[in-house]
Symmetry: C2
Subunit: 206 residues, 2 copies
Amino acid sequence: MAEERRVVGNLLALAVLAYLTQGPMHPYELGRTLQHNGDARSIKYRHASLYMVVDQLTRAGLVEPTESVKDGARPERTVYALTEAGRVELTAWLRDLLGRPHHEHPQFVAALSLVAALPPDDVVELLGHRLDGLAEQRSEIESVIAQAAGAGVPALFLVEEEYRLAVLDAEVVFCRRFRERIIDPTTGWRAAWTHDPATAVVEVTR
Amino acid sequence: MAEERRVVGNLLALAVLAYLTQGPMHPYELGRTLQHNGDARSIKYRHASLYMVVDQLTRAGLVEPTESVKDGARPERTVYALTEAGRVELTAWLRDLLGRPHHEHPQFVAALSLVAALPPDDVVELLGHRLDGLAEQRSEIESVIAQAAGAGVPALFLVEEEYRLAVLDAEVVFCRRFRERIIDPTTGWRAAWTHDPATAVVEVTR
DNA sequence: TCTATCATGTAACCAGTTACATGATTTT
DNA sequence: AAAATCATGTAACTGGTTACATGATAGA
């Protein structure tokens, strides 16, 4: 039940498959939809990556070129359609991503695992800055939600943003608590921070 | 204040810089430390990537080869040391990662943004499975913490795991609520789920 | 009409991964 | 002493990014 390796792993491909359920499109249109539609906030999008991904999908038989349309004086564009295999892959992939958590490596976690390399007072200060940044992010997300809701988008299509808010709030709580624990002398955290080169950073016996 | 592009971007490099503050090491030893020390849970680690990263760091002048040691009958190993520039980069990088939040693209967010491509009943079921998986992850993390704490590792060196727990708990709450909102007929979520091909998946006017 | 920006794509480069290689040590 | 595993590294491949190219439309 585990570890099905995707033929095409890039998440842009997932969006492409999903969009193509609505009918054939050419790559540029896919990119535009992704941006205009806000999904570029959730899926890393680089214009050139799209062509690569579409090519990979074609080679994997999940998508196929249908026609080349010459629209006005524009350069000719190839239009792609979802194949049956593509439709199958789309739902399998989505089910996998939703149905069980996958291990990932956010940058902040990496930083936390090496935080002892900085002096504790600096960390306290930096956590303060991060809390400001988080507050800013939060209000950005709120305004994205408000704006979209105002434009009549059903809440279902904003559920990623709600998830982001949830995670963000948890991070705020964590940062506050972390800061307190560094300051509080009874926790012994400052003691663990001895910049004795023999033990700092790397806790070898772990 | 924003957007400083790191000469070497791979987070493995951050760990290398941090470890080398403890004194010169050869790549293999760095890898061993990373694993044994548990930081491989936080930083994606592939044995071959280490050599690449060390090479990049060398070219960037953040690290330099010191000596080649022939230890017993083992193949000769090159030992690397941190340069002054490396020390500077280490703290700048760490400060940046801690001091402000960076935009990332977790897989689950991508999946959520396309969730309307699956039928609602399936999503309810899948969220149930995910909740099980999250519970499992949670107990794994707890046991990592317990074991390390039992071995005398100060809590400071486990702070990433606590962060993970915080985020994980937030995700649990989110999933439960999401599930409820799909089921609850008064939210109108099911209505937005009309599999009318004209509006499904892509909410164009957003 | 000159310039800026949009539309559409290609190509070259670099990073990261998988797979291979080989001598040393340990287990059976 | 054969088999397995550890220690240590190289090489080849592929995916993704940045940078380049070029015709079309629109604004000044």
